[in-house]
Amino acid sequence: MKKHIYKVSLVLIVSLLGCNDEFLDRQPLDSISNDVFWNTENDMRVYNNSLYSLAIDDNNVPIMMGHHNGFSSQRWSIWHVSGFSDNTAPRHPRHNFFQLVRAGGHPVPDDPQWFGYRGWDFVRAINFGLENYGNADVSEEVRNQYIGEARLFRGWFYAEKAHKYGDVQWVEQTVSVDDLDILEGERDDRNFVMDKVLEDLQFAAQNMPDDWGDGNAPGRMNRWAALLVLSRVALYEGTWRKYHNLGDSQSWFQIAADAAAELINNGPYSLYTTGDPTTDYNAIHRMTDLSGNPEVVYWRRYELGIYTNHVQSYHKSYIGGATKDMVEDYLCTDGLPISLSPLYQGDEVFENIFENRDPRLRQTILHPDDQEFYQFGNIDPAVADYPKIQGQTKPGLASTTGYHIIKVYEVNAAHATYNTSSTPAITLRFGEALLNYAEAKAELGTITQGDLDMSINLLRARVAMPPMTMNPVEDPRYANLGISPLLAEIRRERRIELFMEGFRYDDIRRWRMGQLLEDKDLGMRWDEANSSRFDPGGEATIGVIEVDGVPYLDVYAGTDYEEPIFDESRHYLWPIPINAISQNPNLGQNPGWGASE
């Protein structure tokens, strides 16, 4: 008996030890390894879908921007970034960062800021795809479509980084822990990076399909989207080089113009219009479903139970309002600026600022009579009394400036239950191509009336404004910028048309117009007549400043941002985070941002 026991135990132990490899070899049960993937076109497609998925995080990947979901809608949206500029004047404490940057008070951060020095996982994901697309058994043409899609993302991403940080590390491989030349590497020269960006975007614009046959709702980015991005990036680069005196800008302008022209002339897109100049401009910004809209090249879709946002609700109380400077930039209906046009009625009576002005003004800023039309604030029209300034207790939504923004206001979403809205984001629209084209041609010096007519004048025609001519009257407010009156008008057109679409801060930096950010953000005229009319109780808590003897709301009076500065020597670029430098000192800091400066 005892012997048996020994034998049995021995056999048991030996047999259990004998099958080690099998027993201890436990491969994942719920995920696939790289060697069995990458066979079909579908594999490439679902892989590239993950790039879109990464780009959903607008903070990390601030390209193809939309609106973040949930609470993050209050921070990360294509709409909010106007807070960096002189277009809007947010005072909400949660928009502190926008105010800091706007006023030139942002410190060197410890870790990446909003929309900052981050998103490298996106680059890695792109590079991983590029290293593997070759394994799929598909035709070269099909393969290049997906390569093009990935390179569009990479080029776009790097352009944004180079434009914000100057030199950046260009990486076109998946980095491993052994790649010390990269991990401990220096930043690459921005010109080198931008040449790489150009290669990526040109490849995309040549190889992506015109149409993926996916129904455009919103579908994948296509070749036309790539062309629009190419024209945007090239225009940025051209102007940046020109105005920051880096030379070699002409070729970039040519690329920008050519790309825009290709999209304008051969693309399937056109301006959205119903023939009503008083509503066509802002209509597409207030729609929920943009499927098939002729003007929208790419948009971000939201839907209950999948991905929703709360951006309308946050926007209405966080954005503050449009600035006096913005409102005064709109031309009069005779095509002249307010300082020159006999049609301008002054700002003594609030409603008068809308009289005889570019119809886009009234589609951007709330005219008190339009409250019922827009249901602004979702209140009974009988008790509505706009404008309403922060601090006032009368019904309705308050602003910091008196210039309530209705371009993107949609009442249902603005008062919808938390995070249930499907407010879309227009990421790329045809209108921009028209503006890019005109500006690039103007910078090239080859612009003609025909160029204006095929671009900016289409935008003007939609809102029944007189066409722009080759020799516009010089607006005194732009007389000292050292640019031609025509270029000044093209830039004005861009500011007006693209308000709230995420361009202004970038435009100011590429035009080297940082000085504009030294001007205070003001609001409506707040003289005795206006304040007693709109705020008889004297409740408004926004300060007042006199401009040429006339009092206006001074949005940041009494705050840390009262005296905005723009330091030409450093504020065009953002600082590299301290912790990024402490991990790799070779990154170096951008000029003017040093630890002891």
Binding site: N20, F23, R26, D30, V46, S176, V177, I581
Partner: protein, 1061 residues
């Protein structure tokens, strides 16, 4: 002292001259004075002796030169009584206080305590009995030195976190917890089923568990049947828990409004409350009538009163119930133990129906069958069912934790007023009366916002066999299967709330945070199997004791999870996935793992004096690549029982034991976690796989987008973390086992830590785990027990557990010395770094001049004014900043706090008088520096949340309060410039807390037996009932605040009975 007295007596006794004499007497039990049969009586220095009869009487003839008699009986302290010519010697013997021969459970076996050579802590189940604890973890806090139990908060469904001897590894790691040899969560078993808990602290004692025991082992042994009659034990305990609530809110709404305005004007130039609020709250403060509570201003409904939200939401006491019944017994052929337990704890919510409810049901069935003289079979089934039913968690804004920081001017419900805008309009608004307002008002979510309910069943079945074919040889084999099945249903259900207060413009009804309603169903099924076989052979010949043991262990597990979520309930009344109409999603997960190892232990003892032990294990784990899968982990230990040496003979009457121990050994760690808290295990750290998922980025309407993502980075050469411990120990027992002291010093080196070395972000992926860092922990622990029986009425004992340890990084690749990463020499603790870097506070700026003349602080914020914090320019460069945030250039930062608790202690005292027992247990930390984090919503810095506490008014700077602790009121959720990490707010977190106080009464046996019981006991107890700390309120030294103020710790008061028959 009695033993010492006896020894002295003995020393001075003189021999009598009688040739022979007869001595007789009676031996009784010193506790109950009953006769003691079967006591051995021996004439000292001879083999002459006798035993007492049934009535405790004896009669013995002794030689004339006999000096003394030695009385001994199992379970009683042996006594040596000098004869001194007496012919009658009566003796009352004291039951043994604690026997050195006590047997303790060790890895795959048992050992006499006196023969231990490693660092082992032991406690028996008694410390867990009759205490209003929710789980065993709570009861083990402070009991065994250097067994550190961290209770994150008071939530009974949240398990306690265990740690042995300090910070384990930057990769996480925790002790291995085995219940009857099977790994499981100790918190799921009934504390009353625990017979003993053994803590294996060093490599030597834990080596047989090899790769899983790197950070120590906790062996829990459950009770088994004994005694020859059926023993039934029943216990019932009712307890009330009350949250430890260190807040003191301002309840005067006018004061609240003024305080908030002061802070918001300072921060962004605008008051939070307008003049009407100031006037309205003043009206109410001066005359708190219902009419003054509400008003309508400019068409807006306004509340001017004070909603003491916490008071309305939180109950004073939450009930807790515990019932246990066990039946046990044994016979020659079999023994059995069966127990059933029930535990329930409710949350603090006043709403009884919607309150949180947690319940646990335990059953333990054990049987042992002696098949024949060489074979014993044993079976065990352990069944645990836990259920939890809580309100759905929306977000930190809408949950219980808001109770402490809700703005008291936020209205809760639409009021019933005679009229609203104008007389006669009540009819128009009647529909809203009683409706809840939205915002961060928890009430509507609590009542109708859905529930999160789960049930977890845990079943462990074990079949074991013991063979002892020849004398001294023991073979054991056992197989255990553990099945865990958990189902969870979480429902976010739509509620209707009033979104605004605009009576004139129109009230808006919406769904608050619940607009996107859904049902989530999740099922988890885990299977885990364990095989243990081992054999030991004991040779005990003369002075040689030799006991080798070998064994084999194999474990494998498979874990499956499936979840599906469906949106848009048809009606909140029916919560089933079928009754939804919206989009749906499904998720799944499957994992498996395996372990295999052989192990050995050899004990050799020479002459009870020299003890040697060698342990080792050869282990393989599925978590590593094939080439690095196996590891060998040996250990050695030795001890010298000095007290047994000849030269110590003179001390034997007062020194029972003196032993020094030393051990050295290696262990491995194979557990890898995805998070620092060590709750998400990683099973395939060396395999890179593509992720596949459904992205919410919609390329078409109505559907998620299928996507496959890039794999992460892995290191293909991963292998074990190695843990090397060296231990030196000293044990001594004195005065008849009354004083028992054990002291250990140790170092523990964690080598080749599996860590994610922090690399520049350009890497673009989470860093792969590599064996790249080392850590050293140094510490010591002391355990002192003093126990005594003064006489048959009085007895007491005192236990002290005191320990300390410090862990430092000894190797870490951080060439730039970035303070954002680990660096060499750094003290580490818990889930992070124990060294807090920050600024040195000069003080609070008092004047504009001071601001103007101070170093430039603009790197930290703008617009510095009197009332703001002034930081010291430590590097003298005229600006205050973080420099490069490296060790070489920390700017003006220095280490401001070591956030590792030092000198943990527990003091337990038991006092018995006749039938009364009193148990007192203090636990605490002697040194602990703590800088309260400045994250939004963490309670500490004024105006970091929506409410106002009294100290915000008294302790903030103003021109008339220049010496205040805090700066000028400002909203620190918006600007952190005054609440940077800094010396001023470092807290002294040392504390002592009265963890337990129990007063019990045992019914006299005579009475108990009359009502058919063998034992009956009633007790009252309190848990966490008192504390002392210098930490500022509202901080609790035991709860490190996180983003949300979580479930509060609680004081628990209980009454219970315990009867046996």
């Amino acid at each position: 002292m009695r033993a010492l007295g006896v020894w002295l007596l003995c020393l001075y006794s003189t021999a009598t001259l009688f040739a022979q004499s007869e001595i007789s007497g009676t031996v009784t039990d010193g506790e109950n004075s009953e006769a003691l049969p079967g006591v051995n009586i021996l004439v000292k220095g001879s083999s002459t002796g006798t035993i007492t009869d049934v009535d405790g009487n004896y009669r013995l003839t002794v030689p004339s030169d006999a000096e003394a008699l030695i009385f001994s009986s199992i379970g009683y302290t042996p006594e040596e009584i000098a004869i001194n010519g007496r012919t009658t010697i009566d003796l009352s013997m004291m039951p043994d206080i604690q026997s050195l021969q006590e047997v303790v459970v060790v890895g795959y076996g048992t050992q006499e305590k006196v023969n231990l050579t490693g660092a082992v802590g032991v406690t028996d189940g008694e410390v867990l009995e009759n205490r209003p604890i929710a789980n065993a973890g709570e009861g083990l806090q402070g009991v065994v030195p250097n067994l550190n139990v961290n209770l994150r908060n008071g939530d009974p469904s949240q398990p306690a976190d265990f740690n042995i001897r300090g910070f384990e590894s930057i990769n996480g790691g925790s002790p291995l917890i085995l219940v009857d040899n099977v790994p499981m969560d100790i918190n799921r078993i009934n504390p009353n089923d625990i017979e003993s808990v053994t803590v294996l602290k060093d490599a030597s004692s834990a080596a047989v568990y090899g790769a899983r025991a790197a950070f120590g082992v906790i062996l829990v042994t459950t009770k088994k049947g004994r005694g020859d009659k059926i023993n039934v034990n029943f216990g019932a305990e009712l307890a009330m828990a009350t949250p430890i609530f260190f807040i003191d809110p301002v309840t005067d709404p006018h004061q609240h409004v003024l305080a908030r305005n002061l802070a918001t004007i300072r921060t962004n130039g605008q008051p939070q409350y307008d003049q009407d609020y100031i006037d309205g709250t003043l009206r109410y403060s001066q005359n708190p009538t219902p009419e003054n509570e509400w008003g309508v201003f400019n068409g807006q409904l306004r509340f001017y009163g004070n909603n003491n939200y916490a008071e309305r939401l939180i109950a004073d006491f939450a009930p807790q119930r515990k019932y246990d019944i066990s039946v046990s017994g044994s016979s020659e052929k079999a023994s059995y133990y069966a127990s059933f337990g029930y535990f329930s704890r409710d949350g603090y919510l006043k709403n009884d129906e919607k309150n949180e409810k947690f319940k646990r049901y335990n059953a333990l069935l054990k049987g042992t069958f002696n098949v024949n003289d060489w074979l014993t079979l044993d079976s065990r089934a352990l069944v645990t069912t836990e259920t939890s039913d809580k309100p759905h968690f929306y977000n930190w804004d809408v949950n219980i934790n808001t109770s402490a920081r809700q703005d008291p001017l936020d209205p809760i419900q639409f009021p019933d007023l005679p009229f609203y805008l104008e007389p006669g309009d009540r009819g128009e608004f009647e529909q809203y009366i009683g409706m809840y307002f939205g915002g961060t008002n928890f009430f509507p979510y609590l009542e109708n916002g859905g529930r999160d309910t789960w049930t977890r069943n845990d079943i462990i079945m074990t079949q074991g066999a013991n063979l002892s074919p020849i004398k001294g040889l023991n073979i054991r084999g056992e197989f255990s299967a553990n099945f865990t099945y958990r189902t969870d249903q979480d429902v976010q259900s739509k509620i209707d709330v009033i979104a605004n207060r605009d009576l004139a413009g129109g009230l808006i009804i919406d769904n608050g945070f619940s607009g996107n309603d859904w049902i989530l169903n999740e099922s988890t099924f885990d299977q885990y199997y364990v095989i243990n076989t081992y054999a030991d052979y004991t040779i005990d010949k003369g002075k040689h004791f030799f006991k080798p043991m070998i064994g084999f262990n194999q474990e494998w597990g498979r874990f499956e999870d499936f979840a599906t979520r469906a949106y848009q309930l048809i009606t909140p009344a029916i919560t089933d996935i079928n009754a939804t109409t919206g989009n749906q999603e499904a998720f799944g997960q499957k994992e498996h793992t395996a372990l295999r190892g052989v192990f050995y232990r050899v004990n050799y003892i020479y002459d009870d004096r020299y003890l040697f032990e060698a342990n080792g294990r050869y282990d393989g784990s599925s978590r590593f690549p094939e080439d690095n899968r196996f590891g060998f982990f040996p250990s050695f230990s030795a001890a010298w029982r000095i007290s047994e040496e000849g030269f110590m003979n003179g001390t034997s009457s007062w020194l029972d034991n003196l032993k020094i121990r030393a051990s050295y050994g290696q262990l491995g760690n194979q557990l890898i976690f995805a998070n620092a808290a060590g709750t998400i295990p990683v099973y395939y750290p060396y395999i890179a796989t593509l992720g596949s998922f459904n992205s919410p980025f919609m390329l078409t309407g109505g559907a998620r987008t299928p996507a496959v993502s890039a794999p992460g980075l892995v290191s293909p050469t991963l292998t074990w973390e190695t843990v090397i411990t060296q231990n030196l120990g000293l044990d001594f027992t004195m005065f008849g086992n009354r004083l028992d002291v054990s002291f250990d010093v140790y170092t523990r080196d964690t080598k080749d830590m599996l860590t994610r070395e922090e690399l520049p972000a350009i890497l673009g992926a989470p860093e792969p785990r590599q064996n790249a860092a080392d850590l050293r922990t140094e510490g010591w622990e002391l355990s002192v027990t003093w126990q005594n029986r003064i006489n048959s009425n009085w007895r007491y004992d005192v236990n002290l557990a005191l320990s300390d340890n410090v862990s430092r990084i000894t190797k870490y690749n951080n060439p730039t010395g970035s303070l954002n990463e680990y660096y060499e020499g750094q003290v580490v603790f818990d889930e992070g770094r124990g060294e807090r870097w920050g600024f040195e506070t000069v003080g609070i700026f008092q004047t504009e001049d001071e601001v103007a003349n101070a170093p430039n602080q603009s790197a930290l914020g703008a617009n510095w004014r009197p009332g703001d914090i002034q930081y010291a320019d430590l590097n003298g460069d005229g600006v205050i900043n973080r420099g490069e945030n490296t060790l070489d250039d920390p700017g003006d930062q220095r280490i401001i706090a070591y956030e590792n608790p030092r000198y943990n202690f527990g003091v337990m005292g038991n006092l018995g008088w006749k039938n009364f027992t009193l148990n007192v247990f203090f636990q605490g930390v002697m040194r602990y520096q703590y800088w309260p984090p400045n994250n939004n919503w963490v309670a500490f810095y004024p105006f970091n949340a929506g409410h106002v506490e009294q100290y915000y008014l008294t302790d903030t700077w103003s021109e008339t309060n220049p010496d205040a602790y805090f700066p000028h009121p400002h909203i620190s959720t918006n600007t952190k410039q005054n609440v940077q990490p800094q010396t001023r707010y470092v807290q002294d977190g040392a504390y002592v807390r009265l963890k337990n106080l129990t007063l019990g009464y045992n019914l006299p046996e005579t009475i108990a037996s009359k009502i058919g019981m063998t034992n009956a006991r009633v007790y009252v107890a309190g848990q966490n009932i008192w504390e002392f700390t210098r930490m500022r309120r509202p901080l609790d030294p035991e709860v490190r605040p996180t983003l949300t103020q979580e479930y509060y710790k609680q004081r628990v008061y209980s009454v219970g009975i315990n009867v046996s028959f």
